[in-house]
């Protein structure tokens, strides 16, 4: 840490912990505004535009309102669990940012040798908070939402981790900073299939877009946070967007080369931010385009489509690493011409094979 003027571990820790909290809170505000404004053109409307120019202060108004709303705890609720659930849901989201490299080697602990393993382990924890909320509210709909989120997270964790494995194979390291350093060519070009699988699994992991089954309005009212109001509800809102931000940051690091980009080396942070926004835009795009999946279709899609595809992706990348892995200390650029057709063929094949009963019977379950 010779770049750091104080040269003290605890000073570094305190400053970056504070910086990350501020970064997450600010970016969540910006993301909420960005999403609601981006919905406008997609749905041929304006979006929020009354609260200050371009509705820029809309999230501020939401925050003021929701923080000062009455806090209701149901009489049948498990009071202590009901109180602690939003914190348990939000804490892992904040912890993910500990290993994200915001700039070359700059972050809380960007050089942690098991960085990406840490991200996978921590991000799976937020499901505990959601289930605690669902269980403790003493409401059948919230419990259903909690049950759904467990099934969904367990199913989509598998393809997520498998797509990360292909990245780790090529980069040759679990450290987030070294994964970025290994990306002479961004990995979404080298491994388009891996990126697609990661993006879809991440969408399911953060319970957004077409996978927001745990708070499906038309089926289970508001899902796991049905009994939450005021500040605790705001925490869940924060956790949802914070998780989207975290997954965008991880995707930018793993597949878009994080802080790498043309130009001066000091603008690495801006490149990182730009890529995070781009991936968040992809998430918004999917959310506003696709209708919500049915529960059985969700599980079928996860286990019968994404999981085999992720396995094939790992197999293809591993075989390529054995054959060409030693050239110039990395994957050669022309691997694109093998991986892109391979991705298209695999997706086509699986879309043909992924039919219940070979396409002969419908699903009546």
């Amino acid at each position: 840490m010779d770049w750091w003027p104080l040269g003290n571990f605890w000073a570094h820790f305190a400053v970056f912990a504070l910086a990350i909290i501020v970064f997450v809170l600010l970016m969540v505000m910006v993301f909420i505004w960005f999403e609601r404004r981006a919905f406008g053109p997609f749905q041929m409307r304006w979006g929020p535009n009354r609260a200050s120019p371009w509705g820029a202060l809309q999230p501020v108004a939401d925050a003021i309102k929701v923080l000062l709303k009455e806090d209701i705890v149901p009489a049948v609720a498990d009071k202590w669990v009901h109180f602690i659930a939003p914190v348990v849901g939000f804490l892992p989201v904040l912890l993910i940012f500990a290993v994200v490299p915001f700039h070359d080697g700059h972050g809380l602990i960007p050089d942690m040798s098991i960085g990406i393993l840490y991200v996978v382990a921590i991000s799976a924890l937020s499901v505990v908070g959601v289930f605690m909320a669902g269980w403790s509210s003493g409401n059948k709909y919230s419990l259903l939402g909690g049950m759904r989120v467990i099934a969904q997270m367990v199913s989509y964790e598998v393809p997520l981790v498998l797509s990360i494995i292909s990245v780790v194979l090529v980069a040759g390291s679990l450290s987030m900073n070294e994964i970025v350093a290994a990306q002479e060519i961004p990995f979404f070009v080298l491994m388009p299939l891996g990126f697609l699988i990661f993006l879809i699994a991440a969408m399911a992991e953060i319970n957004r877009g077409p996978f927001d089954l745990l708070e499906a309005d038309s089926e289970i009212v508001a899902g796991f946070h049905i009994e939450y109001s005021g500040m605790k509800f705001a925490m869940f809102y924060l956790a949802e967007y914070g998780h989207a931000l975290a997954m965008s940051a991880v995707a930018a690091t793993l597949f878009f080369g994080g802080w790498r980009g043309p130009g001066d080396e000091y603008i690495g942070f801006l490149w990182f931010l730009l890529k995070v926004f781009f991936i968040f835009f992809l998430l918004i795009w999917a959310r506003v385009t696709f209708p919500r999946l049915r529960v059985d279709h969700l599980m079928g899609f996860g286990w019968k489509f994404l999981f085999p595809l992720a396995l094939m992706n790992v197999f293809v990348v591993a075989a390529e690493m054995i054959v060409w892995g030693e050239i110039d200390g990395g994957m050669p650029w022309w691997i694109v011409f093998i991986n892109l057709p391979a991705a298209l063929v695999l997706i086509y094949l699986w879309s043909r094979l992924f039919r219940f009963g070979g396409g002969r019977v419908g699903v009546n379950a």
Partner: protein, 148 residues
């Protein structure tokens, strides 16, 4: 009016989340208000909350029967303070055409307090938006420690 009240009222003004409930045909006009042509999103009201715990504004849209009345009363009680109610349409205001019927509540103000009445049968989306703007005016005048 204190400056704290101003800030609070500003927040509540621009973030009045409606409760996603509809009773009768007026609900269709409420849905049209939320759709892109009339675009209630502009006022920051695009978050139609499905749970009464998180909603600020109860738009009672349409005929309220005595059989439905306990449910509406319960939903209103479940909403967290501060909360507002718009009575939308002639039936919600006074029972409308069915005012003398044995089964229709002659005005929702018999069971829950109403802030703004929006007349019409059904009111056009523009009328509902005007009602929402009247409600915004009411919110702006709110005192810091006001109990409704």
């Amino acid at each position: 009016m204190s400056s704290i009240a101003k800030v609070l009222n500003w927040g509540r003004h621009y973030s009045t989340w409606p409760f996603g409930s509809g009773l009768a045909c007026c609900a269709m006009e409420m849905v049209a208000t939320a759709s892109s042509r009339f675009d209630i999103t502009r006022f920051g009201m695009d978050v139609f909350r499905a749970s009464p715990r998180q909603a600020d504004l109860f738009i009672v849209s349409g005929t309220l029967t005595w059989k439905m009345a306990p449910a509406v009363k319960m939903l209103y009680d479940q909403m967290a303070e501060p909360k507002w109610v718009i009575a939308m349409g002639a039936c919600a205001i006074s029972g409308g055409t069915f005012a003398h019927s044995y089964s229709v509540v002659p005005g929702v103000n018999r069971i829950i307090p109403v802030d703004v009445y929006v007349p019409g049968c059904p009111p056009r989306p523009e009328a509902l938006i005007y009602g929402v703007m009247m409600l915004h005016k009411k919110i702006d005048k709110r005192k810091f420690r006001q109990q409704d």
